[in-house]
């Protein structure tokens, strides 16, 4: 109707102060927003990572800043039987625990993927071991593994009568190693199961219907639909699991502290023992740094799994 009025109409400009305008200026806003997170991570994560690598090449002890000694710490470690022991047990612990966690976790996820009553309560209960502080559940395991009053020994000897003596869970090297792995698996199953359950729920039911029309068996459907579709998420969860199992500290420190006769030291507990109570910061840092190659390997694995996933979904690689 009256175009002239529309042309002369000016949007009432919001009056902004200098500060408000500054905060609306994108480069400044981006900087401000990123500053706390990036700052904290740079100071307390990136810098210590570099410092740790530097320390590994010095002979620093508590109260004395060290001098550069080159590869001496690592040469020493290569001849250190305890270090080799810790490497062996770290790999063994990670390998066995990961296989068990994923086997049982996948099974539990498949069970939970059924139509069940009280599903949400069940899920909450199953997550409990993962939520409760590791050290506190480790103490419970310590008590379960007690040489004299172990409830498992009681069940096997007095109730079932399968054994005549108590099991010495954490007093001798091999039983101690297996006992720690069992505790780690117990704690790790919930996370694996719940993550894989999420993966299972994203698989379209129409795939199963199509397969069923073709007359496949349950096992065939698992092998050709469930497992391949689950692979991307499996790879990611497994990377996380491997990294945090390999660098585990709490469980071993709480239950055996590396004993008996240093047979259950992981690299992390050995690094702690040498570095903090032992005061050999340089050597402790060298042990910690010796974990890095393994972690880089696990991360690359994760990266390629992610890339493959994008390709599977028909998205272009970024």
């Amino acid at each position: 109707m009256d175009t002239a009025a529309a042309q002369t109409w000016v949007r009432p400009k919001q009056e902004l102060g200098a500060i408000a305008r500054l905060f609306d200026w994108k480069p400044f806003l981006v900087t401000i927003c990123l500053l706390p997170a990036v700052g904290l991570l740079l100071v307390f994560l990136t810098y210590p990572l570099g410092l740790g690598i530097y320390l590994a090449f010095t002979d620093t002890t508590i109260g004395r800043s060290g001098i550069w000694v080159g590869l001496e710490n690592f040469e020493f470690l290569l001849e250190d039987r305890l270090w080799w022991n810790a490497v062996f047990y770290s790999v063994f612990y990670t390998g066995i625990a990961t296989i068990a966690k994923f086997g049982l976790g996948l099974w539990l996820a498949l069970l939970l993927n059924n139509h069940l009553p009280f599903k949400s309560i069940l899920r909450a209960i199953i997550l409990l071991p993962w939520i409760v502080p590791t050290v506190l559940s480790a103490i419970a395991f310590w008590w379960i593994y007690d040489p004299q009053f172990s409830i498992i020994s009681y069940l096997l000897t007095d109730v079932l009568g399968w054994r005549t003596t108590n099991i010495d869970f954490i007093g001798t090297p091999w039983p101690a190693r297996w006992s720690l792995i069992a505790a780690n698996v117990w704690r790790g199953i919930p996370f694996v199961a719940i993550s894989l359950l999420a993966g299972l729920q994203t698989i379209s039911p129409s795939l199963y219907e199509a397969a069923m029309l073709d007359g496949t068996s349950g096992w065939q459907r698992f092998c050709h639909i469930t497992f391949p579709m689950l692979l991307p998420i499996l790879a990611i969860v497994m990377t996380f699991s491997i990294i945090f199992t390999f660098t585990d500290f709490q469980l071993v420190y709480a239950i055996t502290r590396g004993g008996p006769i240093n047979s259950t030291h992981l690299l992390a507990t050995l690094a702690f023992q040498r570095g903090i109570p032992g005061g050999q910061l340089g050597e402790g840092a060298a042990i910690a740094v010796s974990m890095i190659p393994f972690l880089v390997f696990a991360t690359l694995f994760s990266y390629f799994a992610l890339a493959r996933r994008k390709w599977q979904q028909g998205e272009a690689d970024e």
Partner: protein, 307 residues
């Protein structure tokens, strides 16, 4: 298996073709019910039993008098004959347990608040302000999550001493965000992605500033994501062990997990009753906190994994 209620092809092939349809259906229904029992409920019950047993054992031990605790012959170890609060009393009134609880709570709340604020801002900048290279900043923050504390605690212990924060809970408040921020940022980026960008565009056209948009539009819509990030951070800070063990020396400043292990375990005689009571009490706040928000938690956990 996910398909237990469907008869498999083999079963159908094996079923005699001459059976009347009704009888076959009936038998199949019975079969599938038993099968369901054996293949689903039985293993599930075993899983739940094993996953819950340590908690049950913790509780039983915490309320058992010492006489029953060390005598399996006269008392059934799975039951409590005469429940006692003796261990709890010892814990609360004869040790510094209340102080440890207070310290842990303070550290967990402060670290959570610090990481929530930083990661919300960072996630907003990365996902919504879309500057050049924002993808790489996101990737770098994600990679930070893969650096485990076991590698960092030795250099961090040195740095904490330089800053004069050794043996101070302040050190923990500053260090915990290193493992909280990466996960929270990652989770919140995913969450912000699910909020339609059009809402922000409308607000921009209406002349709102970026800060106004964040405060009035994005944040209120992201509350579920913020809650789960908060729960996650709180739980992780409460559970943290290695930094607290390395940085804190004096007994009264220790956090619950460290204190139980280093202060309650004295000499060769372990006071299992008190230890279990301490573990139970130390697990309760996290378990309660988590059970209140379990649905947010599971959905965002699974959402973040899917991301």
């Amino acid at each position: 298996m996910s398909d237990a209620h469907f008869p498999t092809a083999d079963e159908e092939a094996n079923a005699p073709a001459k059976n009347s349809a009704a009888a076959a259906a009936e038998r199949m229904a019975w079969d599938s019910r038993t099968r369901r029992m054996v293949t689903i409920y039985l293993p599930l019950a075993c899983f739940v039993l094993i996953l819950l047993f340590p908690f049950y054992w913790m509780t039983v031990t915490a309320f058992k008098p010492n006489a029953e605790l060390y005598d399996y012959k006269t008392y059934n170890p799975f039951l409590i004959g005469s429940p006692t609060l003796e261990h709890l009393k010892h814990l609360l009134f004869e040790t510094a347990y209340p102080t440890w609880l207070a310290t842990t709570m303070t550290v967990a709340v402060c670290a959570t608040a610090l990481s929530l604020v930083s990661s919300t801002l960072a996630a907003y900048a990365i996902q919504r302000l879309r500057f050049r290279g924002s993808q790489y900043v996101g990737l770098a923050i994600y990679l930070a999550y893969l650096v485990p504390p076991s590698i960092l605690f030795i250099p961090l212990a040195m740095m904490v001493t330089w800053f004069g924060l050794f043996d101070s809970p302040m050190a923990l408040i500053l260090v915990y965000p290193t493992f909280l921020i990466p996960f929270c940022t990652w989770l919140l980026i995913g969450y912000f992605k699910s909020i339609p960008y059009e809402l922000e565009e409308c607000a921009l056209i209406d002349g709102a500033t970026r800060i106004q948009i964040l405060r009035e539009i994005t944040l209120p819509l992201a509350v579920p994501g913020l809650i789960s990030a908060g729960i996650f951070s709180f739980t992780l800070s409460w559970n943290e062990f290695i930094y607290a063990l390395a940085f804190i020396q004096s007994s009264e400043k220790k956090t619950v997990p460290v204190a139980i292990l280093t202060e309650l375990v004295t000499g060769d005689v372990y006071q299992w009753g008190a230890l279990m009571a301490g573990s139970l009490l130390g697990s309760l706040p996290v378990a309660l906190f988590y059970s209140l928000f379990v649905d947010y938690y599971v959905s965002s956990l699974t959402g973040a994994v899917k991301e």
